[in-house]
C-alpha cells in the first residue's frame, strides 16, 4: 500500500473541500477501496474519513425517503419503511456481498464501488479502466461476469452493485455536495457513464464531490422482485439480475419498472422494454418480446455469451412471478 495522508472531516463541506485536492478519496466502509489500495489499483495521496459525518439518518421527505449516504447496507435493508414500500431495494441489498460486508458498506459507497473485472484487479494485465490506453485483456479473456450491453471497444466491465440496480428501478436520485459548497441532484443515468473512450471514469462526479444522500420518490406499490442469478448461493456477484416493480390493474400492467444487473456497464434500464409492457395484458408472448427488446443490441464476448440466453429466460420468469401469468 502506498503511504497516504489521513484526514477526518468535521462536516460535509470540509470533507468536500479536502477531497478536492489532487488524488484524494473519501473513505467510509472501505470495503472496496481498501482492497484496491492494497494492490495499488487505487493510490490516493489523501484519505478523507467521512464516517463521523451526520449522514446516517433515513427520513421521510417529499413523499418518499431521504437516505443518508452513510447508512449501512444492513441498516438500509432492515429499515421498516424500506421493507414495506421499497421491497425491491431491501431484497437487492440482501442479495449483495455478505453479512459482514453489509455491516460496513454504506449507501453512498455502494454506488461508487468499482467493477469486479478480474483484469482490473490484476496489475500485470492490460486494463483501460485502470490504466487508460493500455488495452483490454478482458475482451477476449475470462469475461464470464462482464457486460453484454453498454460496452465499448475499450471496456466491457460490468457494474457490480445490486443496490444500484434496485435504485435505478425506483428512479432514485443522489444528492451531492461539491467542494465549492453547492449541491446538486443526479439521476443514476446522470451519475454513471458508459465506458466509451474514457472507461477510467465510472461517474460524472467532480473532484471532491460528495454523495450526501439518496432520494427515493414516493412508493410505487405493485409487486416488487429482485432476482439475482449467480455462481454460488451467496457472496458472488450477479451473472444477471432483475429488479422489477410491476403493478397490475384490471388485467393490465399499469406500473412497470425494470432494471438489470450483471449485463450492463452501468445499472441498466431500457425505456423501450417498459413501454412495450406498460398498459398491456401480461402474456408469455409479450414477456418474450420484452426480453428480445432488452437484448436486441446485446453482444457476448465469448465466456459471457451465456448471459444472453440466460436473461432471455430470467426476465420472463420474473414477469411471470410478478403477474401470476404464465401462458
Amino acid at each position: 500500500m502506498k503511504s497516504f495522508a489521513y484526514e477526518r472531516a468535521s462536516d460535509p463541506k470540509a470533507a468536500a473541500a479536502i477531497a478536492s485536492r489532487a488524488h484524494a478519496r473519501f473513505i467510509a466502509g472501505g470495503t472496496n477501496l481498501l482492497d484496491l489500495m492494497k494492490i495499488q489499483v487505487e493510490t490516493p495521496e489523501t484519505l478523507v474519513d467521512i464516517t463521523r459525518l451526520p449522514l446516517k439518518e433515513i427520513v421521510e421527505a417529499g413523499g418518499g425517503l431521504k437516505i443518508g449516504a452513510l447508512v449501512t447496507n444492513s441498516d438500509l435493508a432492515a429499515d421498516e419503511r424500506v421493507r414495506r414500500d421499497y421491497e425491491v431495494l431491501s431484497r437487492a441489498l440482501l442479495a449483495g456481498a455478505s453479512g459482514q460486508l453489509r455491516n460496513k458498506a454504506t449507501t453512498g459507497g455502494n454506488f461508487l464501488q468499482r467493477t469486479r473485472c478480474n483484469y482490473f484487479y490484476e496489475t500485470n494485465a492490460r486494463c483501460n479502466k485502470r490504466e487508460p490506453g493500455s488495452g483490454c485483456d478482458a475482451m477476449n479473456g475470462f469475461n464470464r461476469i462482464l457486460a453484454i450491453l453498454g460496452t465499448s471497444d475499450k471496456c466491457i466491465a460490468s457494474h457490480p452493485s445490486d443496490m444500484a440496480v434496485a435504485m435505478r428501478a425506483l428512479d432514485a436520485e443522489v444528492e451531492t455536495l461539491k467542494s465549492d459548497g453547492s449541491t446538486r441532484r443526479l439521476t443514476l443515468p446522470e451519475l454513471y457513464r458508459l465506458p466509451g473512450d474514457t472507461p477510467e471514469r465510472d461517474t460524472n462526479l467532480e473532484a471532491g464531490e460528495l454523495i450526501t444522500a439518496v432520494r427515493l420518490p414516493k412508493p410505487l406499490g405493485g409487486t416488487q422482485i429482485y432476482r439475482k442469478v449467480r455462481d454460488r448461493a451467496s457472496y458472488a456477484f450477479a451473472l444477471v439480475s432483475v429488479a422489477a416493480v410491476i403493478g397490475v390493474e384490471n388485467g393490465r400492467m399499469e406500473t412497470v419498472r425494470l432494471a438489470f444487473g450483471g449485463i450492463g456497464t452501468m445499472p441498466w434500464r431500457d425505456a423501450r422494454v417498459e413501454e412495450a409492457l406498460t398498459g398491456e395484458a401480461p402474456s408469455a408472448a409479450l414477456f418474450a418480446k420484452a426480453a428480445d427488446i432488452l437484448l436486441a443490441e446485446a453482444k457476448g464476448h465469448g465466456e459471457n455469451d451465456f448471459k444472453i440466453p440466460l436473461m432471455r429466460r430470467v426476465l420472463p420468469a420474473v414477469l411471470r412471478e410478478a403477474t401470476g401469468v404464465s401462458a
Binding site: T123, R232, P309
Partner: protein
Amino acid sequence: MDDQTVFKMDEPVGETRLDTAAQGLIGKPLDRFEGPLKVSGRAPYAYENLAGDPNVAFGYLVLSGTGAGTIRSVDTSAAEKAPGVLAVIHDDNGPRASADPNDQRPAAIKGEVVHFGQPICVVVAETYEQARDAARLVKVDVETREGQYDLLANRDRAHKAQNGAMQAEVTKGDFDTAFANAEVTLDVTYTTPSQSHSAMEPHAATAKWDGDELTIFGCYQLVSTNVGQLAKTLGISKSKIRMLNPYIGGGFGGKLGIGPESVFAAIAARQLGRPVKIALTRQQVYQATSRRSDTIQRVRIGTTRDGRISALAHDTITSNSPGDEFFEPTGISTVFLYAGENRQITHKLAELNLLLSSSMRAPGEAVGMLALENAMDEMAEKLGLDPIEFRRRNEPEVDPQDGKPFSSRALVPCMEEGAKRFNWADRPKAPASRREGEWLIGMGMAAASRKNLLQQSSAAISLSSDGRCVVSTDMTDIGTGTYTILQQIAAEILGLPRENVIVKLGDSDLPQAPGSGGSWGANSAGSSVFVAAEGVVAKIAEKLGVKPGDVTMKDGTAIAHNKRTPLAEILKGETITVTGTFKPGRTFKDTHQASYGAHFCEVAVNAVTGETRVRRLLTVAAAGRILNEKTATSQCYGGQIFGIGSALTEELVVDTRTGLLVNHDLAEYHVPVNADVPQLEVVLLPERDPIASPLAGKGIGELAICGVGAAVTNAIYNACGVRVRDYPMTLDKILPGLPD
C-alpha cells in the same frame, strides 16, 4: 528412566485397551481441546510469533508478471531507495513455488520464469506496508518466450508420467480385446479444472537466526520432511534448524512442502541479522504455492448384458510445470474399487507453464472419482440397473489387480445403510420427472474409497507420579483434531482423565512422526502413542510384579489381581518416559487396505436458470475404529463441502493466452459458502480393522471428499437430464439442456 519400544505390525492385533476402554474415552465425541485457544486468539500462528519484537523485519515477495521466459535482470535500485526498505534480495536459489511432499528441495528459480506469478525476489522493510509498496518498484526484465498454458491444446504432447504416488500405469489382462468384445460399452471423457487448496491461513513464516542456528515458525504439515527440505535449500545441516508449527490454519495439502515464504524469510533473516516475517497475500497463495492439476480423464467400461464389468480403463492426462514430475493420481481407486478381469489405468503428464501441481486433499481420488463414479452412473443407466445394484454386481472378493485380500471392506453395507436412511427407493425413476415449481428434483449416489496409508511414527510419553502425562511428537494438527485424539489414546491406555494428558506437537525437537497428509496421521501417530503408552503400562506392571495384560489402568490407578494402586504409590515421585515407535509391517504388505463409504445427494436444479442447490447430502463411511466421533464427523463434513465445491463452483481459471491464474482471490475462486451447504448428514458405520493398525482404524480424513462430487452431478442428471462432463457444473453448462 527413559526407554525405547518399537512395534512392527506383522500380525493383526487382538483385543487391546482401546477395546476394553476402561477409561471410556476412546471414540467419544470430545471437543478439540485447543479450540478455545484458537477462537480466542491465544494460539499463535506462524506469522504471530515474535509479536511486538521491534527487531523483526517484514518481507514481501515480488512475483513474475509473465508466464514464461528468461530473467535478464532484476533492477532493485528504486525499491532499495524506498522508505523503510532494508534490502531487496534476489537469490536464484529461491524457490519458484512450494515443494512437493517428499525430501527434495523446492525447484529453484535459476534465472527462469516458468509460470505467471512465480516468486522472483523479496523486498524486506521495517514494516509490511513499506515492503509491499516497494515491491512494486522492482523492475524485472524478462526475455519472454511463448509458453504453454492450455492442457487441452497440449494433450497430444503429454508423456508417460514417472511413477509417483502410484504406478503411472497399472494394467491387467487385455483391455482392448475385452472392451471390443463387451456386450455393453461406455466411452466417455471428463475434464476437471485446476483447483486451489484455499486454506484459511495464508502461507506464512517467521525466521530467526542465533549464530548458525535457525528457528523457523512455519505452517507446514510434515515437520521432519520440511526441515530436510529447508536444510537442503539453505545448504545447512538439518540439526541447525528448529521448526515450530504447533498451530496450522488449514493445509489440505497446500502446506505439505515448504514454500517460498520460509526460504526467503530464512535467507533474508540471515543476510540482515534480524528476524524476518513473510506472509503471502491471498492472491500470492493462489499464484505462488501449488495447485491441484487440471485433468482430462477418459473412462471406458465394458460389461456383460447383465452388468458384470469385463473391461475397465481410466486414462488420464494431467499437467505440471517444467521439471516437476508429480502427477495427479486419478486412478488410485479405479485399481481396486470394482471387479473386472481386464484393466488399464494410465497417467500422462503434459508440461505446462503453470504453477506447480501437487497434492491437494485426496490427491487422485478427489477428482479421479468425479470421473469414475460419474461413469458408473452413466453405465448403470445404459444397463437399466439401479446404480447401487450395478456396483453390487461388481463388488470384488479380493483386490482385482493383484488378488490380495482386503483387510476390511464395507462398501456394500455403506451403500445399503445409506439407501435406507436416504429413502433411495423414492428416487425419480426417470431424469427430469420430478418438479416443484421452478425446481427440478433429483437424487444421485456415488461410492467413496480412499487407499489407507500408514507410516512409521514415534512419540514419547512421560508419566509422572502425580498422574499427569505429556505426549510429545513432531506430528502436526492442521485443524483436524490430532491434539485431541492423541490425548484420548494416551488417556485411555494409561487410565487418566483427559485433562491430565498434555500433548505437544509440531516441534522438530520432538520424536519424528510422518505429519499430516494422506489421511495417515491419526493411525500412524496414534499408533506410536499407543506403543509408547503400552510401554509405560509395561513399566508399571513390572513395578507391580505382574504381567502387563493383567493390569487395568483406570482413574489414575493400576488395578491388578483385585488390588487398586494409585500411580503416586507406584511411581513414588519418579517419572517414567517411554518413546514408542510404530512401523508398518507384513499386515500392510499382505493385504489391501482402504476406507469405504457411500454418498447420497438430493439436488434441485432451477428450470429457468440452471442454478443447482444441494438439498440433502448423506455420507455413510466405514474406516475402522473411530477415535473421536466428533472430529471424524467434522472431517467428513469438510470432505462433503469440498465435494460440493468440486461439483458446482471451484475452478482456478487459467487465461490460456498468458498463463495468468485469473480468479486469484476468495471473491472469485468460489469455494462453497454456508448458503451452498445444506444440513449435512454423516453416519460412521461401526468397524474394527485389526489388520490395518494397532488402533484397528483406517484413514478417514480424506474419505468423504472421494466420490462426493459425483453424487452431486449424478443427482443433477437425475433432476434435469443434463449430463455435463466438464467440471464444475456451472449453470451455463446446464442451461442449453433445460426445457424451454
